[in-house]
Amino acid sequence: MSDAATMTLEEREATLGGVGTARKRKEDVRFIQGAGNYVDDVKLPGMVFGDFVRSPYAHARIKSINAEVALAVPGVKAVLTAADLKPLNLHYMPTLAGDVQAVLAEEKVLFQNQEVAFVIAEDRYIASDAAELVEVDYEELPPIVDAFKAMDEGAICLREDIQGKTEGAHGARKHDNHIFTWEIGDKEGADKALETGEVTVKELVTYQRVHPSPLETCASIASMDKIKGELTLYGTFQAPHVVRTVASLLSAIPEHKIRVIAPDIGGGFGNKVGVYPGYVCSIVASIVLGVPVKWVEDRIENLSATAFARDYHMTGELAATKDGKITGLKCHVLADHGAFDACADPTKWPAGFFNICTGSYDIPVAHVSVDGVYTNKAPGGVAYRCSFRVTEAAYMIERMMDVLAQKLEMDPAELRLKNFVQPAQFPYNSALGWEYDSGDYPTAMNQMMQAVDYAGLRREQAEQRDKVARGESRSLMGIGVSFFTEIVGAGPSRNCDILGVAMFDSCEIRVHPTGSAIARLGTKSQGQAHETTYAQILATEIGIPSEDIGIEEGDTDTAPYGLGTYGSRSTPVAGAAAARVGRKIRAKAQKIAAHLLEVAEGDLEWEIDRFKVKGLPEKEATMKEIAWAAYNNLPEGMEPGLEAVDYYDPPNMTYPFGAYLCVADIDVDTGETSIRRFYALDDCGTRINPMVIEGQVHGGLTEAFGIAMGQEIAYDELGNVQGASLMDYFLPTAVETPVWETDFTVTPSPHHPIGAKGVGESPNVGGVPAFSNAVIDAFSHLGVKHMPMPHTAWRVWQQCKESGLTK
């Protein structure tokens, strides 16, 4: 106690390492020494290895599968096919979107690299050899690659397993290749606004199919203990508890006999939310063989078979007055879901939260409809570093704002300023049904415009355009403005669940007698520094230094049930649970302090790490003293110990926002774009760890850069996936990646216990339109309204050519 007693307030704050400090990360110590524990690092006694036989065709009938030769390879333990899974009713698995997905293809394959057979062998080398030897006889069928042709009359039915079903999980199906129509808003009102608008614009804005591609691919190890009837499942799971529930439902193993462990995860970005055939096959194989079975996908499998994102064809329409006040929005989306609807969205939201697409603007009336269709492409539809379909929504509205500004001959920043939801309007009810919690958009926008000298940039752009026109330069300058509002932190149980489980989250804490603590949460970090930042939230609440608070996640045997980490929900939901569990601890601590100091509870006041008696500052009880007393000196009748649990069902989502600006220079002769400057102002409410926030913003912007400038999972007309390796799929290196400038404003969330909103995904959501708008803005003076993403050199060059700029 002695050093604590002599410390100044500032020293005690510094020792606490609570909310607002740029605390160094706790998890780094193991990672920088190669001592992380990722799934492929886990080795269990007797473990064998599974590998898939995959379809070379996008659409084909399976005539026969012959595994005899493969089974004869020494070291091969088994080969699973749909025929083996069918008696267990495991040849299909339910998806989060209410569809089913083939675990192993039964009669047909529906996308290239679809899982057809699972070969289990002593090691991965033998499994790989044997997979080559499984003979599959296919009869090729014509594929549907173009989503716009999926519902053509006479289009071949892809999903024979649900052929003729007119009702899907989300309402009526109007074609065999149709999944759902989802509508929201006032159609009549929006139609009228568009009909009567003084100025209207309409544009097809496509957000191409991309893939999150974390550096670690997906993997699992299933270990069935047949004697105890217990299954242990290690895996790359962003939501381990949900996996446990799904595994129990699928396998009929009681949920208490399943332990799911998500060890360290090498990046997720949405890729590791879903349940994949590899997980299921490793479980089945372990049940069959009675030994642990490991499955690790390779990069080609990762890019071509698990969890694409986007593939949204969005037709946006805006109506406005002549002076630029928006009067209505309409949007229709054709959503290409691939062969199975495996979108990772809350159950009631087949198009995620796409209806955040009114963005940051006070749009009086709006209507959105989304049609999901099947094609011969990989299933997925995950939220790649964004909340559910939020980046698609932000891309559509932020592109449309530029299209409208151009039509109005108005500056894009000015148009945004003119239409912002104003600070006094919060909480703001959007035309498409959301209640925005808080925001100050004009302040953020103005801060950005001043920081970058927006007017100066526009002057420079005008001069540069003149130079190009005079033939003095071959470089176009583009300025991309993006102002986004996200909706994250799913979510309130009234509108968000996954397979019926409400999307709450949780924190449990035990304070030990000597004054340190262990806290466990229902989320799962994939690099977001939870071990560091949750401890900061708790430190501030309970007065125990963050250094003395251990954080654990990812083991369903120990962590309280939670829905996991995606959609920027960790801070808004589990972070709130952490704050609230801390308050429960502090409430009990106050009672103990009153007992120790022999005063009434109400005579105490809290100061950083201790209770003090009001008016008698020398009479105090530190949390360290209180923790000790909790185990030996309690008020009469009080239960010993100092622990609590909190399950937090948020009253609302949180709505982070930000103002981004991108300056791009385009080489007219090659079409190459160079990002000269990128400024990102984020408002994520209360800032828990500025260092971690900045790191999240850097990373998100880099992913946005990759998406906007090069990423695409493309297919040829036969449904062959193109470029599914890191040679072709654009993950930028340090050389291509721009330098990032970050800034912030702070508008706390009024409903979150500490006012925090979440930030990890904002830069992806806001970044993509900023890049895209910059590239297209470079051509706006030539009448160009829109250009397709990704803005690869050749596509941009194509525009240069069409605009008559090439030689």
Partner: protein
């Protein structure tokens, strides 16, 4: 096919084993020796997560057969800290400058930085970016990695200067 006997020095310790000729060095290091630092990210020599130092060269161990490393001297991230546990300046730099998030690329990044700073002890930011361009990171956007490398360069140069004085 017959097994091959390989012998090499890994982090100062001589290791050997009888392996198939096709065994990739990354698998030898991870499966036979039990290291967890070098990671497998892309398998096509693009991501650099498997980077180790072999006889004074940064090498992607997913694109080298273990037999090719016969008699080599290999350092992995596990061999960077001092035997007393003191972190190497590069490890310290990554921690101080928030140069990592998920940690999957980190061992490769650190090993690449190790060789880069041996060859160019005082690199510019641009030289750092080119120097680590064989290592992909999906989390950090590289900006803090550049700072981490700078931090390490400064500290290593100070140590060298002090030693010289």
């Amino acid at each position: 096919m017959s097994k091959q006997h390989v012998k090499m020095t890994v982090n100062g310790t001589e290791v050997e084993g009888d392996i198939e000729a096709r065994t990739l060095l990354i698998h030898f290091l991870r499966e036979n020796i039990g290291l967890t630092g070098p990671h497998i990210g892309c398998e096509t020599s693009h991501c650099g997560a498997c980077t180790v130092d072999i006889d004074g060269r940064s090498v992607k161990s997913c694109t080298l057969f273990a037999v090719q490393a016969q008699e080599s001297d290999i350092t992995t991230v596990e061999g960077m800290a001092s035997p007393d546990g003191t972190l190497h300046a590069i490890q310290e730099g990554f921690m101080q400058e928030h140069g990592l998030q998920c940690g999957f690329c980190t061992p490769g990044m650190i090993m690449r930085t190790h060789r880069l700073l041996k060859e160019n002890p005082d690199p510019t930011d641009e030289e750092i970016r080119w120097g680590i361009s064989g290592n992909l990171c999906r989390c950090t956007g590289y900006q803090n990695i550049v700072k981490a490398v700078r931090y390490a360069a400064k500290k290593l140069n100070e140590t060298t200067r002090e030693a010289a004085e």
